[in-house]
Subunit: 246 residues, 2 copies
């Protein structure tokens, strides 16, 4: 079965957390909006899915995952559904809840990163809210980035398990989808706030080490080196506006 | 088994979504921070739980639910865990995922409502960000409140099932925890933005009708009339600042 992922074709955004899980597991999937309209793909196909009036359970926004008759929106819900099928989470309810709790916390950090460049609302241009963005970004850099990274460090430090090389994961002793999400969060923060994030990462060696190991996982490394990985850019969630970093 | 809920004792906040589920199901629970320190309750007990250095799976913030050895944070994760146990969601995976997707979307609306009075950061006082709050609130009132309420209306309208009186629920034909969350969202919006919300609700009769039915559910009505229901106030997520409504 080939999964269909419906997400904006020009940004990593929230869809990237789903792409990373699918890629790391070697799953067969179509990134619909990036496909060819001749194959019933492309942006119109994505918009049709998100706006499909025949769906009795309509999504509010993308990302949307389609797996046969199952249509799921909300990044964390998609990952909750996918992870057991992709073997990217343990079998116990406790492990799955813990992973989900971490995922939601990472997505809170992602939301806050977005707010730094659009504090007054996503309907306004960045250029029209730059003074507010400077204030919001300062608070995010000095308080929130350390808070989130320190918490992830604590989670890694307290995890009693490790892999054969002694490497720590967020849940249990092997790679799970939230390790991929940690990687994506750190990548995004390093792109948008390189100075502040490098400073914070000096105090979170376990986070940094896990980020490295995820980047080196065979399938993840292949994905990151491919054209399927969309570069960070200033239309996404993590944006490099030098005036917002320090 | 008595559940322990750890949440701030003076606000509804995100904890209220958990309180409503526990109350509507008639579950036995302790609202720890509101209890007596002589009974090992009160605010110190809550803070101890959230900061407990012996937890191998530490929460970042409250609400935290403790059920025996299980310690769960993140509102949506708590409800994912509780709902089947409280019989507040259907048995199928599809129903549970759909309910969870709705819950996450409602919590997105709650986050955005909070941002209206703290657009520049939750570490700053409202008084220090009033001009920004006015801009953020206008966008929220005119674009986001209608967007969320219209989506919930669409979900209700497209649900092919109804209860015996013809009443619509968000998932299936009977009360689920996301109906309670819809109620709480509407209550909060009506408190914080009465003018804008009443205007939006004129176009969402099914949302309004469901809100009324939830309020009249026997256990919910008893809870809302009790001292256990903390009144809305200006320390919570939904705050009545008249200058932010129109």
């Amino acid at each position: 079965m080939t999964y269909q992922l419906h997400y904006w074709p020009n940004i990593q955004g929230r869809g990237e957390f789903v792409r990373l899980a699918l890629e790391a597991a070697g799953a067969s999937y179509t990134d619909v909006a990036r496909g060819d309209p001749a194959d019933e793909q492309g942006l119109p196909a994505m918009l049709h899915c998100v706006q499909d009036a025949s769906l009795t359970r309509p999504p509010l926004a993308c990302p949307v995952l389609v797996d046969g008759k199952q249509v799921i929106a909300q990044t964390a819900t998609i990952l909750l559904y996918l992870a057991p099928r992709l073997k990217l989470v343990g079998a116990s309810e406790a492990d799955r809840l813990w992973a989900h709790q971490i995922q939601l916390t990472i997505l809170d950090a992602v939301d806050e990163a977005h707010n730094t460049h659009h504090p007054l609302g996503s309907g306004l241009y960045y250029e029209d809210q730059k003074p507010a963005a400077r204030v919001a970004a300062q608070a995010f850099r000095t308080q929130r980035i350390p808070k989130y990274l320190n918490w992830l460090e604590t989670v890694l430090a307290r995890n009693p398990k490790a892999d054969k090389q002694g490497g720590k994961h967020l849940v249990g002793a092997r790679l799970s989808y939230v390790d991929l999400s940690l990687f994506q969060l750190v990548e995004g923060l390093l792109y948008a706030f390189p100075k502040a994030t490098k400073r914070a990462l000096k105090k979170t060696p376990l986070v940094l080490a896990l980020r490295e190991r995820v980047a080196q996982q065979r399938r993840v490394a292949a994905y990151l080196g491919s054209e399927r990985r969309i570069p960070f850019n200033e239309d996404g969630i993590f944006r490099r506006y030098p005036e917002l970093d320090a």
